[in-house]
Symmetry: C2
Subunit: 385 residues, 2 copies
């Protein structure tokens, strides 16, 4: 059910010819209210795509009527013409939905530099057709229309006492956080103020999408948008809502990790005993971005030396000679020296767990990443994306 | 002639059984004087190998008699036993050369975690045999003995008016700077004070080895050592010496780039128009470390969007919408938008030039890197290193 699981939402996904395959490529999600509360987080990449620049303004007042999303072109680095395309897209949707264009978020994904007149016309026509097909069970179609190199649509739903959260996500390469890391739309029929929506969304993304770092490459177009219709009439406890939203975002993030381009391992790098949570994230991310570590995991090699070498490049508080490393439950390194033999570690399962213990405090964090494989190199060298 | 090209030096390289292939794996370089001046730069990785911790102390007083180097084991994360091995190696060399062990530098390279009793005995025996074979034309043998996954030895010589600089280097993977980035020994028969040697070495490495970033992975064992014998009796102008040393270090760094594990392109990323040199290096390094950019170059795809996305993650002074990108002489991006078609760019030559113009100042810098290939993934996943 995706984004149409909560009451008060309609969605659709159509094929507008942006993808050469003819697959669906334009999605629309509409909040029918009664409330039109919204919050969003955006990529922190300074090279921002045109739809990001448009949407940042739209979301600022905490009110959003609809989200238009397209795959098949990022509309990034396409100049003033490209910004106008995002603006026109919002105007087209606003006109058809009888709302203000200043309340319509636009998201694009695909190849950077794509966004010419042909692209514009296809997006506008797709928007029109998608709006004509809006329905309260259109969530799955919308989730399919935002896919790029994804092999499966990603959706998740959480039902709670009288209210529901639903979400869809896309993203399979160029997955690293600044803030968001991919296109995500989350809907809920809970009653939330704009401030509550913003607080909950930031709490959730900080420990989910922000901790997914598949290939270290930060996108120009990433955005996570939360829409709240209030159609359930229930005002949830903010902590309960934020926890549920976090759980749903982690679910979607895990699906993104599981479908990352060319990956053969889903790797959770857990750092414990850090002085601060920031230190834990810094250490985990440093390992997650180390190509030698990533290729070792691809080769089922528990090469803990590469883990320590990666940690050593950070400014986190730790003593390199008092670090333990455990891979899939086998402690291969104790106090910065060899422990159990590498033959004892089974890295053949796709799910891989690396535990780094720093003995410098009580903070911890987990970063999700993938291995570096032949298939990753192939997908990203043989095709432009 | 490598490190024995300048007067006053002897060297040797022998096979001590550290490499399973039976190839040479222990090298010794001895400064016969009259002066024993030295300087060194070390990896800035906080996870330092035992030989680094030993050598940092040795070099501190600006005097070095000899350098013992081994491949076939990094002696890193091998605990107090490993530090003792470095110490014993220096003592063995000192005893045989009749010098102080506090004037003997030790360098190791190979797999992290390797450094047991067997390793120690082989290093000690190799040191003894290498010293027995020292000769004033042993430079090539020494250069071969420090190779790991290198396919060719790397040496360079520069003759100037009455004095000479010679050098050898090894390094094919885990090539990214903190300071050094690989094992390098440079010798000269010029007359230098310890302070002059240190100044010249830092000037040279800052713009050569420090700007080589093949795979973003910083090593635990990297060291560049400069030995000055004064045997020519000539005290060169310090600027001329530093410029010549820089030229030689760039020559060696280029050889390292050309032999990097699995690479099919040597990529020079030149950033001009930066506000500061630091900004130029930051921007160039950010592109050099972007896996999507690196795979695109492997695929001969002039994907400038990935260049801009990488730049956007930095804090350098620039306007994303006023950046030009030129690949192999063809400007594919002007003011953050598409310019010449990508078909116009020929990326088939191994040597690749990417020019990024920021229009924010007068500073520039070039970082050398490689593409990310199937062969890189294969070498680093199929074998431990």
């Amino acid at each position: 059910m995706s984004v149409t699981a909560p009451a008060g939402f309609e969605a659709a996904g159509v094929a507008a010819g942006l993808k050469s395959t003819g697959k669906p490529d334009v999605a629309v999600v509409v909040n029918r209210g009664p409330y039109k509360t919204a919050a969003a987080v955006f990529t922190s990449n300074r090279a921002k795509a045109n739809p990001i620049m448009w949407s940042e303004r739209v979301v600022m007042d905490g009110r959003v009527e609809a989200v238009v999303l397209n795959s098949g072109g990022a509309n990034c680095f396409t100049g003033a013409f490209g910004f106008q395309t995002s603006h026109f897209t919002a105007e087209k949707a606003a006109e058809l939905l009888d709302v203000s264009s200043g309340d319509v978020v636009v998201c694009s994904t695909g190849l950077i530099g794509v966004g010419d007149e042909v692209f514009r016309q296809k997006v506008l026509q797709g928007t029109e057709r998608a709006i004509a097909q809006l329905s309260d069970d259109g969530g799955e179609d919308a989730a399919c229309a935002i896919m790029t190199t994804d092999t499966v649509p990603k959706t998740a739903v959480r039902d709670r006492d009288g209210w529901t959260i639903g979400g869809m996500a896309k993203g399979a390469g160029m997955l690293a956080p600044g803030l968001a890391t991919m296109l995500v739309v989350v809907t809920t029929d809970a009653v939330l103020t704009a401030e509550q929506a913003d607080t909950a969304l930031r709490r959730a993304t900080r420990v989910s999408f922000d901790r997914l770092d598949s290939d270290g490459a930060m996108s120009t177009n990433d955005q996570v948008t939360l829409l709240a219709s209030g159609a359930s009439g229930v005002s949830p406890d903010l902590d309960v809502f934020a926890d549920t939203l976090t759980e749903l975002c982690l679910d979607l993030a895990t699906q993104l990790m599981g479908d990352a381009e060319g990956a053969s391992h889903n790797i959770r790098i857990e750092v414990s005993g850090a002085e601060t949570e920031d230190d834990a994230v810094t250490v985990a991310r440093s390992v997650a971005r180390n190509n030698l570590f990533k290729t070792a995991i691809f080769g089922n090699d528990p090469n803990w030396g590469r883990v320590l070498a990666a940690i050593g490049t950070t400014d986190a508080v730790f003593d390199p000679y008092n670090v333990d490393v455990t891979m899939n439950g086998v402690r291969v390194c104790t106090q910065g020296g060899p422990d159990r033999p590498r033959e004892d570690v089974d890295l053949t399962p796709r799910d891989t767990h690396v535990l780094v213990e720093l003995f410098s405090g009580d903070s911890s964090a987990t970063v999700m990443t993938n291995d570096l494989t032949h298939a990753y190199v192939h997908e990203n060298s043989a095709y432009s994306s």
